[in-house]
């Protein structure tokens, strides 16, 4: 059992937990993920590690409520326990001094970008951070990202905060402004359409772009192959070969389709959950 030490609510659907998991905290590196299961009948869901504290033995996760499990998770409070919490899984981000790196975080993807940006800056890079969300109330960790990056740019789709525009608009401006030859690498984490759009933008400039994929998984250790994805025409497992890949090589259409395999069942699970506990979906 893994104790939730702190809970923070960023918006009605985006929440942060600090979880006691010393074994994971001891070893995890930026870019890796955990799999958790909240109760005995629960499913195993992967979440990218947003922060860690080796001394305190804690892992921070930030998640958006999109399905039954994340909704139930969102209702849990500090002091409660998560049944299973396993990690660190996946390959760590490749960290070295590249020069100038742009780190793009979209929506809840801001969280997993954070430890990578911090590590890249510590490695000597000039880290240009770009974070964006649909609107102001869905934005979080601006302060943490400002600290992790050398400079930070913020945008909202609807213009309710700082400026109006997608992260790709900001990225384009920066590349035009600084010159593509002065940027060594782009890292993008967020919803699939955002990562795909970012890759579209950087491809025009020939800028190498790393993305962190969130595929359906069961075990997360390379055992089931549920998370397979085509990268450069080869089948890879997101859980053990990734989660980070060269975004220009990813078969995005296949990834999106495979991610939607259980869409109907996910809807059914939410409805079943709501009518079972009689809370009208509130608990």
């Amino acid at each position: 059992m893994f104790k939730i030490l702190q809970k923070q609510v960023f918006s009605p659907v985006i929440k942060e937990f600090v979880i006691e998991a010393p074994r994971v905290a001891k070893k995890c590196q930026p870019g890796q993920f955990v799999i958790l299961r909240i109760h005995d009948e629960g499913e195993r869901i992967p979440l990218t590690i947003a922060d860690f504290d080796r001394e305190k033995g804690t892992i921070t996760i930030v998640f958006q409520e999109v399905g039954k499990t994340t909704m139930q998770l969102g209702k849990m409070e500090a002091g409660e326990y998560i049944k299973d919490f396993v990690g660190p899984l996946g390959e760590p981000s490749h960290i070295e001094n590249f020069g100038t790196v742009v780190c793009v975080g979209g929506g809840v993807g801001i969280a997993p970008v954070h430890p990578i940006a911090r590590a890249l800056k510590e490695a000597g890079n000039h880290v240009i951070g770009i974070i964006g969300s649909r609107s102001k109330d869905l934005l979080f960790w601006e302060d943490k990202m400002r600290e992790a990056c050398s400079e930070l740019h913020v945008t909202t789709d609807d213009g309710s905060y700082v400026r109006q525009g997608f992260v790709t608009d900001v990225l384009k401006e920066i590349v035009e402004d600084r010159g593509k030859e002065n940027i060594a690498l782009v890292l993008a984490i967020g919803p699939q359409p955002m990562m795909r759009a970012t890759c579209g933008t950087t491809k025009e400039y020939g800028l190498k772009t790393i993305v962190s994929l969130n595929a359906l998984m069961v075990d997360g250790t390379g055992m089931c192959g549920c998370c397979r994805v085509s990268v450069g025409g080869e089948t890879k497992f997101v859980c053990v070969d990734g989660p980070e890949f060269d975004g220009h090589q990813v078969g995005w259409l296949e990834l999106a389709r495979r991610g939607a395999i259980f869409k109907q069942e996910e809807q059914r699970a939410i409805e079943h959950h709501k009518c079972q506990c009689g809370c009208g979906g509130d608990k």
Binding site: R23, V24, K26, K27, R37, E41, G42, E43, R44, K68, T69, K83, D84, F85, V86, G87, P88, L89, V218, D219, T221, G222, M223, C224, G225, C226, R228, V229, S230, T235, V240, G251, L253, E254, R257, R258, A260, I261, F262, E265, E266, R268, A269, H272, H273
Partner: protein
Amino acid sequence: MAENKKPKKQIIPNKNPMPAQDARERARNFNEVALGYSEETAVAEAKRCLDCKKQPCRQGCPVEVDIPAFLKLVAEKDFDGAIKKIKEKNALPAVCGRVCPQESQCESYCTLGKKHEPVGIGRVERFCADWELNKGVTPPPVEASTGKKVAIIGSGPAGLTCAADLAKKGHKVTIFEALHVAGGVLMYGIPEFRLPKNVVQAEVENLKQLGVDIEVNSVVGKATTVDELLEEEGFDAVFIGTGAGLPYFMRIPGENACGVYSANEFLTRTNLMKAYQFPDWDTPIKVGKRVAVIGGGNVAMDAARTALRLGAEESWIVYRRSKEELPARAEEVEHAEEEGVKFDLLRSPVEIFADDNGWVTGMKCIKYELGEPDDSGRRRPVPIEGSEYTMDVDTVVIAIGQGPNPLVPRTTKGLELNRKGNIVADLESGATSKPGVYAGGDVVTGAATVILAMGAGRKAANAIHEYLGGK
């Protein structure tokens, strides 16, 4: 006994049949297929043993159970004595009684079996184990603590057996399991209808009673490494029993379409995650009307039978050799046929078709004929040119085998691997190229059977005991 001469035993030529759920009924539920012997039947079956002098059955058991002795005790209705006798050698009798391929092991050597049907050793073993589980298990004696610590990686049949043996010898044993529950393939792979999960968990509980610690959610190779266990965490020896958990795919076009599963995913969702109880359990699975399972082993049979239970109208085994060469146990093939699984033999897919949304709509197959025998001694399947045709299916399960999971081998310094990535280990002792590190089961041999993995766990336990200074 007073008499000097053994009275000649009456020969009963046929095994007592195993009561089973009706085939048509069971093909739609997940309850256990074979119901188990009653007390009377078990005693009657045990009495069929000729009590022959040579006891050839014993050489057929990879964990060396004293078969004639336990059969004799059952015949005398001393079930407690019988299960104790079995457990001297076998840590998981309720599992072995169900899933061992007895027909190619103990029972294939049975003297009675030369002219008639052999004694149903596995069935009697299962009866004894179930009898004990029902009444409550008394843990076997554990020797005084040796003060030595052993780490076991993986809680499948090899790891569980190795753990039990070492714990009984007084060593402090900790099992590291990557999943959230112990049992390995017994939990995620073998279906409920062949091996009920409460039976597996009962055996795991027995192990805990011997003082074995089980750390679930612990991925060795990620959260810690073999080297760290030895150097930092104070373990004196390590046994690697991580199995064959890496699914092979066919590398044919369309294999990543929606509706194509590896057998591992298909079975893990169903068995470990209980997708057949969705939405009461959270994990879903999607099965169409016509399911093709590619492969002919026990895993393929499990997947094809599972597909029917999940609601498929038709479930096909597609295998590129003929029925003779099916690697699955005869009993599994028979059960699958009884339940309505169909066999499309001497066929193999070359492409999987999908609709505009990426979902499977069919499979292009090619026909095969058998040529000269290959390295395995089986006749080599040769594709027939121009014989391609389309098979109308909406779900495909790939069950062509599994390789060793690379997480542990890749992160352990100085561990010799073979070309396929299996750990190179001495088959008699499990010793690897790294001192203090032993390995056994599928991670060494490639995908094999539960009992062979248990045999390897037993041998490694003996070798580790010796390595730690025991006699």
